[in-house]
Symmetry: C2
């Protein structure tokens, strides 16, 4: 199945987050509002001067100009022919309907000469002009940015209702895997479980909470038990054991416990990816090879975690670059070609052999080649999606 269709099927099977929680506003950056928020106050909450200058009555200044200046008496209250000095942010007296900029006046003893007329409302921020009390400030499902946090806090709100972060259970499978905590060089035939940490750190980055499960051997019963034990999570990611082969039992377990929606996608690397649901919980099975697993995680995991957490989509960071060499796609596959980016030049990374570790460490981004394109020639301008 092509990657686009697989993604559509998978995403449409994922429901949004149903749990929410109250968090302190100052800890709410990156969280998503679970409830539309209305302003508990007006801003400004008083008639506010937008300038340093003098509050006055516009009616007293009709016709004022450089050739025909008007004289006002400086006072501490507004009556006919008086003005009150104030600074930006000060309250404008009720009787005044305008603020004169200091630049348009000249002091003469206890008076000022005014050289410009003003229209009613000039430089006065009326109550609620910026935000009216009870006005909607943010809709439900809004992702809170630092500037939003400040806005909410300034309205006197100290807690907000946000969606709970999606809990993502990460289950590494493989007979040859050892926990990353092992500090000795593993014996021949054994490999450290690099994927769990990689997946977990991306889960965090994308707004979820990782739950690291112990390594599971490639045995259907044990995998089934581990998956069943984690059905309290909002999503499950299994790594390894996804190929069609004797030992590759992860998709079989998915099929038995729930719905296997997709197995095998036109994604290179990442073909043996499987997608499905168990009891409404999305299950993503990615290949055990870290490079392929990373691509499958980017292609399917990011969107799925976002959807499961009701976290709005954020576009990837993409930069334009010129290819320093040809890159080939795998025919009929959505192909992620790894590139090193330097001064707007994208250098294709030749990945000989398994190319597991070094290809991840060395690449800055992916050039993603659609299924119907054979590749790109040297000198082509391409979009590079940065590896975040």
């Amino acid at each position: 199945m092509d990657a686009g269709t697989a993604n559509e099927i998978f995403l449409s099977a994922i429901k949004g987050m149903r749990r929410s929680e109250l968090v302190s506003v100052i800890d709410a950056t990156g969280r998503v509002l679970a409830k539309t928020m209305v302003a508990p106050r007006s801003v400004p909450h008083y008639r506010r001067s937008a300038m340093d200058g003098f509050a006055a009555r516009s009616v007293d200044l009709i016709g004022a100009s450089t050739t025909n200046p008007v004289i006002l008496q400086v006072s501490d209250m507004i009556t006919e022919g008086t003005c009150v000095p104030l600074s930006t942010g000060d309250q404008v007296p009720d009787e005044a309907d305008a603020v004169l900029m200091i630049e348009d006046t000249t002091p003469i003893g206890g008076m000022i000469e005014v050289r410009a007329q003003v229209h009613p409302g000039k430089n006065v921020g009326e109550i609620g002009e910026d935000v009216r009390k009870a006005e909607i400030i943010f809709y439900k499902d809004h992702l809170l940015r630092p500037c939003d946090i400040a806005v909410i806090a300034s309205l006197g709100v100290d807690e907000v209702k946000v969606y709970s972060r999606p809990l993502v259970a990460i289950i590494p499978t493989g007979n040859d895997l050892l926990p990353l905590e092992e500090k000795e060089v593993p014996p021949p035939g054994k490999t450290l479980d690099i994927n769990s940490l990689m997946i977990g750190k991306y889960v965090q980055k994308w707004g979820g909470i990782p739950r690291y499960c112990a390594i599971v051997s490639e045995n259907k019963d044990i995998i089934e038990k581990t998956v069943t034990d984690n059905l309290d999570a909002d999503m499950i990611i299994l790594s390894g054991g996804t190929s069609v082969g004797d030992r590759d039992c992860v998709p079989v377990v998915l099929d038995k416990l729930g719905k296997k929606l997709v197995h095998g996608v036109g994604l290179s690397p990442g073909k043996p990816t499987a997608l499905g649901t168990i009891d409404d919980i999305p299950v993503l099975c990615i290949p055990g090879y870290p490079a392929a697993g990373l691509v499958a995680l980017f292609e399917f995991g990011k969107g799925a975690i976002r959807k499961a957490g009701s976290i709005p989509y954020t576009p990837d960071i993409v930069v334009k670059a010129t290819l320093s060499g040809k890159i080939m796609s795998r025919e009929g596959y959505l192909s992620y070609a790894r590139v090193i980016l330097k001064d707007k030049i994208a250098h294709p990374l030749m990945t000989a052999g398994a190319g597991i570790l070094s290809s991840i460490a060395k690449s800055d981004g992916f050039v993603i080649i659609p299924e119907n394109v054979e590749g790109y020639e040297e000198g082509s301008e391409v979009n590079v999606v940065l590896i975040e």
Copy 2:
């Protein structure tokens, strides 16, 4: 001064981070390597099979084909005419130089029929093929992504030397400001200090550590003392008090204590920004109006924090959109026009009056209009920089 020149002058006055610290690999996401890292091990650290299949000697299979299959004896050791079954990731016996894919073989009792010849090295990951011991894995100044963390951990490394995060002192100035903690509606003429929290959350987002200072009134001596007290920080951001006016004493203090490099930039909003250094510490003075302060922070703060922390530049997220209405720039100013983004349409935000709170809360991004461009017509395709 134009914004580009101001930024160049400011950035060239900022030195990189000189302190570093050891952190646990699993906590190092988003940190920057202070030391080039070499691989303490080879990967693979043994001769690794890249396939499920049989280890064999390529010399025994010369000429093998579908019409001329070769028979090998399945064994637990490699000699002439034998093969050893193995799975992906298993160790390949020393005497074998290739691994046959299971798909190219047919079992016949204790033997297999092989229908394809293999070249020496086929499907064998040699020791160090991916990463050679003592090879450079990451250079100094590399920003560690989740996938890098996994790579480093898989090499048995548990601590990395990274630059310390830059400490950024945030000093709010203003006679009308009240701390954000005040829960009551402020009295007329008083405003909650929204800027400190906004600046602090962006400082964190961009890799720094905020130090929130108490509100300082617009008095040169008190500002001077507060700035002096914070010269242990890696950067100082003052908000408010930057206009050229009676009370606007922040730039004056900057000039007295250090070097005022820039005061007043062609940035709209954000004109009264001042930039300088005191004892090699970058000092950024941004306008007190939150919308103007936000623009100044994006234009000057992000790059400065990155430079002070030796954190590599990451491009902004930019999306293309079509304007639903005309936007105008301020002539001769680099203008940040706020827009609401919906389905690839950018709706200009009309910001009447002070437009402080609502304009920030409602906008999704900025269309940045260069100094020499008057604006953009309705229907223009524009780049929208998302507000992060």
